[in-house]
Symmetry: C2
Subunit: 323 residues, 2 copies
């Protein structure tokens, strides 16, 4: 059987192997992906993001549990930002995967972002195409979206659950990352700790500021206090996530607009990344960049002229010096 | 006399005309800029940034006053983010310019960011080359650095003064913009209002977190309370700015590293911008992008394959569909 057909027939082992090939940057997956993309279920993707330690994994575990209780099969893609030195989150994911390994209705795939030079965004997007084709009922992508995250989840998920905690540091990190703007549903987790209400009101302020600019037809993001560790608030969270899905069913033009803007962002991201890679990978282009930097530092060429030269493939030192 | 020589001889009228040509996107300025860049004073640039309403303009006015009192000549480039509708900041700058117009030792140039499609970063960088060549003692660039600012001042200034106010909204906006990370000197302006100490401690926390990761040779950004309206704290502010300059004199390798990384960021920014412009301006490339979006939405081509096609100049619909 053709590889794509195996995935489409619900062979999760084939899906896992395909994702491994995507991770390796194997370009022979392209025709397979093309076929999966054309024939996938077109499920909406739930993105779960928030700062490290906010409890995303615990919340995702709770969501998996509720999905399974409703008889739904679920696929999770966890983007793992852990450093190769601490390895913390990798270990955590292995423990989680082991806990669900006996359940044939749960597919969890971890993807490391460490040690990569570009290409993660494409690997995530392509892996989601695989998850969409393998016959599950729900797709979740989980990522630390803080600071210099390599993955902009808003390009991949149609519903974003932003998990926060009441503590000040996380608050600052979250605001800094512009995270407050991207949530469709907010969870203030560890809601029994000090500062939960302050966090809720900070989020509410941010949400009202944003929604005030939109029309009356726009989605109003709910903010829900949770204690994922014992499941408090998780039912309300699932209701809110499902309500967001129904909002798109009721407003298909909003979904169409979102999908088009996500596709546009992905395309421009890929084109830009391809250009930047030319100047950050070893080889001719990087050396040319460094050569033009020497010209700029020595004041032999001004920066914008150097950019033009670089764009047009000129070698450093190839212009007459005007003094 | 050659245009560049006029600027280099201190003819500010020639400098102003040259900046106007830069603003218009006149490409014939390139050889003139090349000459100015080779022969400029190589002054460090002071960047002043912060959220709207923080009092940047008032602080810059105070800095101008102290510069003049020390007999220094000063050039200011103010990037104006005002909308064409409100026009607020433009008006404010006109008033300021009028106030200094009688002083031959002050050159203030306002540059509007509204209504542009790219190119502002280059216009700012090129204008700073002109300011550096016209024989002043101090160069200041003032910009609103909040949110989706088009100008990343950290690519243009060697000393960044970040102006904040105690109020909550500004605080959130500033953190969100990642501004807390870029300051070399911090001013908490309107220090007589509620929340000033909270703002100072939030900044101190952020600074300590950042500097804790660097070595002992690194600059420790001071945080200074000011009331720019009556000049309180401005002397301390100037001392801190001058101390940062002396830090670079004492650590020339740090300055060299900064200049090189700024040049690298500028080059990559320009190259990327040129690429993105291809897909955002009317004409063949934009139409091709939209055509590929149609293919993606209709599931005839998956996004990453479309990016490859786009990069290689393929027309939408040019590939056989694999079902």
């Amino acid at each position: 059987m053709h590889e794509a057909d195996l995935v489409l027939s619900g062979n999760w082992r084939a899906a896992a192997k395909l994702i491994s090939r995507i991770e390796c940057g194997d370009e022979s997956v392209t025709p397979v992906l093309q076929r999966l993309y054309a024939n996938g279920a077109r499920l909406p993707v739930l993105g779960v993001t928030g700062p490290p330690g906010a409890g995303k994994s615990t919340i995702v575990d709770q969501l998996i549990g509720r999905c399974r209780a409703s008889g739904h099969r679920v696929a999770v893609l966890a983007i793992d930002p852990s450093s190769p030195i601490t390895g913390g989150a990798i270990l955590g994911d292995r423990i989680r995967m082991a806990a669900h390994s006996a359940d044939p209705g749960v597919f969890i795939r971890s993807m490391a972002s460490r040690g990569r030079l570009g290409g993660l965004a494409a690997a995530v997007g392509n892996s989601l195409i695989v998850l969409d084709a393998m016959g599950v009922d729900r797709i979740v992508v989980e990522t630390v979206g803080v600071g210099q995250s390599e993955i902009d989840i808003s390009r991949h998920a149609q519903t974003i659950l932003l998990v926060q905690t009441p503590t000040g540091g996380d608050h600052i990190q979250a605001i800094k990352a512009g995270l407050l703007d991207i949530g469709d549903v907010y969870a203030v987790n560890k809601a029994d700790t000090v500062g939960a209400d302050r966090m809720v009101s900070a989020l509410r302020e941010s949400v009202e500021f944003r929604c005030g600019r939109n029309g009356g037809e726009s989605w109003q993001p709910p903010i829900i206090k949770t204690q994922a560790i014992d499941g408090t608030g998780v039912d309300e969270l699932i209701d809110a996530i499902e309500a967001h899905r129904r909002h798109f069913v009721a407003h298909p033009e909003q979904l169409a607009q979102l999908l088009r803007s996500q596709a546009r962002a992905l395309l421009i991201e890929q084109v830009t990344e391809a250009m930047q890679n030319r100047y950050s990978q070893h080889g001719g282009e990087l050396e040319r960049l460094e050569g033009w930097l020497d010209e700029i530092i020595a004041r032999r060429c001004h920066p914008y002229a150097a950019a033009w030269m670089l764009l047009h493939g000129r070698e450093p030192g190839s212009i007459p010096i005007i003094q």
